[in-house]
Assembly symmetry: D2
Homo-oligomer: 307 residues x 4
Amino acid sequence: MDLQKILNEIYKEIKPQLGKGKVADYIPELAKADPKAFAMSIVTLDGESYHIGMHETRFSIQSISKVYTFTMALKMYSKKLYERVGVEPSGTPFNSLVQLEYEHGKPRNPFINAGALVVTDSLIYHYKDEFITLENILNFLRASSDVSDININPSVAKSEMEHGYRNRALANLIKDFGNLYNDPMKVVETYFKHCAIEMSSQELARSILFLANGGVDPLTNRAFLTPTQTKRINAVMLTCGHYDASGEFAFHVGLPGKSGVGGGIIAVVPGKMGICVWSPPLNAYGNSYAGTLALELFTNKTGLSIF
Amino acid sequence: MDLQKILNEIYKEIKPQLGKGKVADYIPELAKADPKAFAMSIVTLDGESYHIGMHETRFSIQSISKVYTFTMALKMYSKKLYERVGVEPSGTPFNSLVQLEYEHGKPRNPFINAGALVVTDSLIYHYKDEFITLENILNFLRASSDVSDININPSVAKSEMEHGYRNRALANLIKDFGNLYNDPMKVVETYFKHCAIEMSSQELARSILFLANGGVDPLTNRAFLTPTQTKRINAVMLTCGHYDASGEFAFHVGLPGKSGVGGGIIAVVPGKMGICVWSPPLNAYGNSYAGTLALELFTNKTGLSIF
Amino acid sequence: MDLQKILNEIYKEIKPQLGKGKVADYIPELAKADPKAFAMSIVTLDGESYHIGMHETRFSIQSISKVYTFTMALKMYSKKLYERVGVEPSGTPFNSLVQLEYEHGKPRNPFINAGALVVTDSLIYHYKDEFITLENILNFLRASSDVSDININPSVAKSEMEHGYRNRALANLIKDFGNLYNDPMKVVETYFKHCAIEMSSQELARSILFLANGGVDPLTNRAFLTPTQTKRINAVMLTCGHYDASGEFAFHVGLPGKSGVGGGIIAVVPGKMGICVWSPPLNAYGNSYAGTLALELFTNKTGLSIF
Amino acid sequence: MDLQKILNEIYKEIKPQLGKGKVADYIPELAKADPKAFAMSIVTLDGESYHIGMHETRFSIQSISKVYTFTMALKMYSKKLYERVGVEPSGTPFNSLVQLEYEHGKPRNPFINAGALVVTDSLIYHYKDEFITLENILNFLRASSDVSDININPSVAKSEMEHGYRNRALANLIKDFGNLYNDPMKVVETYFKHCAIEMSSQELARSILFLANGGVDPLTNRAFLTPTQTKRINAVMLTCGHYDASGEFAFHVGLPGKSGVGGGIIAVVPGKMGICVWSPPLNAYGNSYAGTLALELFTNKTGLSIF
């Protein structure tokens, strides 16, 4: 399979779609993104990499960061983590508050905001300090992407803090149920900060090789997770990775993946490769419009969909 | 891969688990099932079949029937079906009523009861009569399993009718929103009847070969669906096939599948085979306890999980 | 206080408002009502009566009937009734299903539809037959109004049956929770029938004298309820009598009252009189537009508001 | 009517009940209250006052303060206030979050916490500063009670701040919907502070004379509200003043009233008097156990219930 050729074809087919959709504008920092920007990167288990577009340009990874914090928490707490956060799909966003109330503050999965807040809280609880927690999250991303200068964009984090009232409502409600161990404001702030990490498509594709390889980075042989834990993360990505369009993504793309409102999407082909695509304008469900299409083209062309 | 040998191993390992869990007893007819009953069948695309246990004993397929009615409706209405029923996971059972209310009577997916009722209604609307509808559902199952005498157990259907108040509540609520075209009681009755169809594990495994083969029965070459529609059904089975344990099933088994409270589970290995397992006692989520374990053993032993 | 003079003043002031609002049209039978029709009747504890408008014209009493069925059930079951239905306000209509689910099938009060269905069920359970139940409801109204020929309009009842899907959904959901003892369809049908009773404003005003007199009809000395039970009914009317506008009604009118979508409203001045007003067009909350205004004029002119 | 004699009788009858129920212990400061403490005060429109028990002992007025902030906001904004907060009962506490979500951040009434937060926000918006707002709330209470040294207990306020996660969740959710104009944390802090005001039963009974007199303090002739606004506040107290037991309170007591978790309850007899009762242990609904009983005895003995 000539992956570069396939990427080139995708690039050609996707170009007329660039600019369609709507760049996230709930904070000014994200609204500045170039609606025509596009990148797609593939890194295979043997370390070969293939790219199209602006694959070296960093963007705000946003909710993609939840995959890494979930990975870290699963490594720390193993199955005990599931006492605080579930692994099932959650239905509509409307349900998030209803479900938290009905299920006594236990979020349905680590990829809805409520769940990601609990995961972040579990990391702060472990590291005992939010700055050390952030440093460890960054170090995890630096290690898994094998790039040393990955950092947070402080103006994005600040901008989130100024608008993130719903996340604060969630954090305080979870705290009221006793399922946050730290101050809710600190948890929200740490959460916003790890969402404000910036990486390029090639760095992200590289960083998820361990998820395509049973938990072990195939290039450094560093073991991040057990094979069973890795399977768990991929399963949760498949069933819950795209908010209220997870079913659509499973159908169209058919790969475990996770999107962010910065326009990035990562996807894992188990046993084979990590993929990242980036295009800022989002579809109605808050996932990258062109990015979703590009991944659909990819699995159609390669037959690598799980279905 | 020696599938018979793998089945034999599974049988040996699963035997100590038989009887664990709880046979569905909300209707007397289901409560009569033998808690130690067990069967597992595999049919490959080339027509080879492998079995262990009581593979010729018929049982109540219950919600497994939703896969076939969804197939029929998708063939009839294609994408227009999604105007009436979604393809996304639904969260907790509690949400079913809240979501119907909040989303104006459009169920989240065809595998929750509300969605299956809309699908059944769409079939009755097409065939213009509920008896003709049932005959066509039976004929579909007869054709896809290549067995001519598949039938409904009338006492199971009657028993469901006598206890199915929640389904009637759902049907009447959907009707109130204008998303049922027929009398709600007729729809519920037709739904209970197709849930009361009885088949054996070997018949069910055989009947889903078309889902493992892009919509075409590989043994008769009969085309039931397009490849894209088939992908859709498999994707919905993976994300929504096991109620509130769909995420767990995706993790443990990693195959598109659908369970029924009669203790049956079907699973599709795309491009390879259809599988059916049967054991009446259910786990806490209403899925066959031993059946889920057997499928997990299967994907662990064969590496056929999608993750 | 010259009550006839006050009624005449109200009549004059209310005339320009007649026709404003919207006649209930969810069933054809109610849609036929004359939007300019108006009547107001007062009957005092000493038997004096005062009227304006079409006070002898009968109209569909609809939800006003819930006051009488609640009275009958409270007499039968006393405090035990509260095990099946509460006495607290319910919030939005949207909540009815959510609350039933969250509170396990126990409706919040006897004046929301769910609660009235439970009350009707309790009457059928007592009388062991729905026809005998209806006959007893009619007899109660005949006795309390001292009029022998009060009856059900069968075409209104039939029309309700053909459209009442939401009430059927409620009844089946309550049944699923075990809080209906009879067949939900029979309960719904009996409920629709007692809602389809027709009475005039003078008959209704007369029939509630016992609620203004501690449970005893002051003209016949017949005791329908104890003083405590009477206080309960008046309290529930004040806090829950007007759906989602109970707070508004308490403010504007300040009397225990109950409205129906037929355009009727009854109101009790404890220790003094029964009042009924009728005007078919409804305001946004489903209560008679001109009727609410007329009652507000009445309490403003007489100072008989409880506040 | 010899009010002192009636109070004396009540005192005798209520004594065996003192200590029953449960003192609020969600914050340590409130848990310290003497469970046997009791006081009851009546002040009539002509300035006569009657007391039993510890009527000069100050206690934490808690949610009783919502009556005064609602009064201040209604005076400031008149009907425009209803654009931000409703006047209808709200159903279960569970609904508070569901309703806020469903009704886009507009609380149902000013006496549930969500509504009181919006009212407090409206005061801060008016005074442009939270300290000036608090000073004005205190001044309002000093004026209406005619006592100059009413103050906040800072350790109660601090204790609330350390535990009030649910109120912070509510405030942030309302802010997310755009219905708070100030920083949610400031609003919550100001709210907790006015809840921590301490007054005695005789001060509270005196301070609500204006609500029994059409908005005008009968002793100073100071007009706080119009008669219509006063009627509104009394109506909202009657339908929404006791959380999920407002219906029970309307039945048992039959007076507009408002309770606080400090064990105080105020009640208004329109045209006649203000009443305050205090006893720290609460019933299952969070209202003073002995206080509710004492008020019921009062209306039974005097016939002053509105029903």
